[in-house]
């Protein structure tokens, strides 16, 4: 069994600067953005900063063990690979069932890009008052943990407030273990015992 790792933000540290969004979008862009000025590629981060008076933090995929998005996908376009829940863009039909299924709102459907350029659909046209034009292809879009990126997830790397962490299987295991220990200690210290155990 290989439990997934995932990126999680700490809302007590996040200042809502959205650097993670930019880092994510850049990391997945496939073209350079070092020159200022006009750039056509749409800005498509795979995590989104929630910013309300109650809470500020980015939300991204938890790489659920039983990924509802994948289980809901009618065309099998969402798979797991090395513990990462991934969208197979070529299979996606943009039906948004995964958006409906994800309890975190971590799934989005966005224009597909090929080398920073949008892709047109073969058949579907958008009909407007100006006539019909081929529609751009849309695909499901989610965190892929920057799979293959040497520095790991770009969002974690860029966060100046150190609000984002990569929660690994080991991290989780250690934290769970220490909580179990603490829980046991608490019961032992408080003298709470099952009824009838007082002899």
């Amino acid at each position: 069994m290989t439990a997934s790792t995932f990126v999680l933000a700490d809302p007590t540290k996040c200042i809502g600067c959205q650097s993670c969004e930019i880092a994510c979008a850049v990391a997945h862009l496939g073209t350079s953005i070092t020159t200022a000025g006009e750039m056509e590629a749409p800005f498509q981060p795979r995590l989104r900063v929630v910013r309300t008076s109650q809470v500020t933090m980015p939300i991204q995929c938890r790489h659920c063990e039983d990924a509802p998005c994948a289980n809901a996908c009618p065309v099998g376009a969402i798979v797991r690979q090395d513990g990462v829940v991934l969208v197979k863009e070529e299979k996606c039909i943009g039906c948004k069932t995964c958006v409906l299924a994800c309890p975190f709102g971590a799934m989005d459907v966005v224009p597909a890009l090929d080398k920073g350029q949008r892709v047109r659909q073969p058949g579907l046209k958008v009909q407007t008052d100006e006539g019909a034009a081929p529609k751009e292809r849309y695909v499901a879009h989610k965190c892929d943990l920057c799979i293959g990126r040497p520095g790991g997830p770009a969002c974690v790397e860029v966060c100046l407030a150190r609000a984002l962490v990569l929660v690994k299987r080991g991290t989780m295991a250690r934290s769970v273990k220490s909580r179990r220990t603490a829980s046991a200690m608490q019961i032992a210290r408080s003298g709470v015992q099952p009824a009838g155990a007082n002899r």
Partner: protein
Amino acid sequence: MSGLGTAFGSGAMTNTINELQQMGPNDAIFAIGTNTTECHPIIGIRMLEAHRRGARLIVADPRETELAKHADVYLRHNPGSDVALLNAMMYVILTEGLADEAFIKSRTENFEACRETVLKYSPERVEGITGVPAEKVRQAARLFATAENGATYYTMGITQHTSGVDNVLSVANLAMLTGNLGKPRAGVNPLRGQNNVQGACDMGALPNVYPAYQPVTDPKVREKFEKAWGRKLSDKVGMAISDVLRGIEEGKVRFLYVFGENPMRSDPDVNHVRHCLEKVEFLVVQDIFLTESAAMADVVLPGTTWAEKDGTFSNTERRVQRVRQAVEPRGNARPDWQILRDLIRAMGYPADYSSPEEIFNEIRTVAPSYAGMTYERLEKLGGIHWPCPTEEHPGTPILHVGKFSRGLGRFSAVDWRPPAELPDDEYPLVLTTGRRTAHYHTGTMTRNCWGLDGVAPEEWVEISPEDAADLGIAHGDHVRLTTRRGSVVARAEVTDRVPKGVTFITFHYTESAGNLLTNSALDPVSKTPEYKVCAVRVEKVSA
């Protein structure tokens, strides 16, 4: 600048940013009129880290900023009520015996006048002005005054008012009252809005002073500069921006050279600015992009970006640091110093500087606070805080240690005055302005950055859920904001970040320029416009 000069003898930030990293449970941070996490994110992060280490955090802002969310006490005061709020805090400190009597006695003057005024402002009495429950003011005052060290931070939320100087004087009063000057993890810390605005001021880019704040009206100073530069110099104070615009209207100003500034977006009442820029006979704009102002110019001089530059920046904490060129300038762009040098030459002065360092060395000869800095030392020490009078001097991270620049710290008696324009039936809401993390000022640079514009591609005006409900506005609707100056359309963000009765807009976006709306009423002393308060009407625009 004017306010702190009056109180302390120097207008700059008294302490340093790094002190935040030493703060703990005995220290207090008082942030008023600063959206630090958004506008100075690195400082904001340091504040939050200090808070996590136990430092007390008090935030006063009409908007519930990210920093406010984390505050131990958050004071949501009405826009333009800062003096009343600060006086009320001082009232609590005075009446509860929390003032630093020794400091007041030994280091300051004019305390009695201040005291007399402050005692008119009990928290209960000013509740109607500030909108802050008295008990919260009391909590905040105690939390701040009982800390061993208390540092105050502010930005434009304090200065951009018709009472801006009064606001600053009040902040200074509070710091002196609690003895929080001349020591680490304390002080009065105006955070500069731009990376080198401190440097520009240091260099005398102000109407009334030569480099290092030496008054143009002082004959001795004038004599010194006439000697250094070999030319006769004027003894008259120059014009503030607002005077310049009036001068254009009156036909007294005929030539305007705008330099790294976009008044068509950054000045209040943009429609009026446009009228003036159209009227001026000859307009030169030097910038890195063709801004709205540059588009109106007779001559555009292409400047260089930060990556193409060499020289020094003097940051908010008076630290002079080297900036090094990373890439060659593009196209016809040239470093600012070269453009200016050639301009001076063309005007008949034999300027023969060959490098920024040469210019810096000349600065050292006329600006005593820079005298001890060399490029070599700046390099080695990673920057030096002025004043640094000699090459042996380590620089001055903390000002006013043992003695204020002006000798004794001066208390001022400051009464609250209402903002110039208040809501009425026609314009029933208050409009306040500010910035967002992704964008810088008029967006000249940031809106040309793919990622930055990507996270904030358009204006979202903040409006409270109550006002939105009254006006039939839903989150994401397009709304029209109208003031006596102008009108803009933007998306509505329905959020309780702003209180009922207050709306917020930035001035980053050409498509919905916030400064078409703002009031050009000025502070009588500093001539800073009241960007932070005006009256506005908001309506839903049908798509």
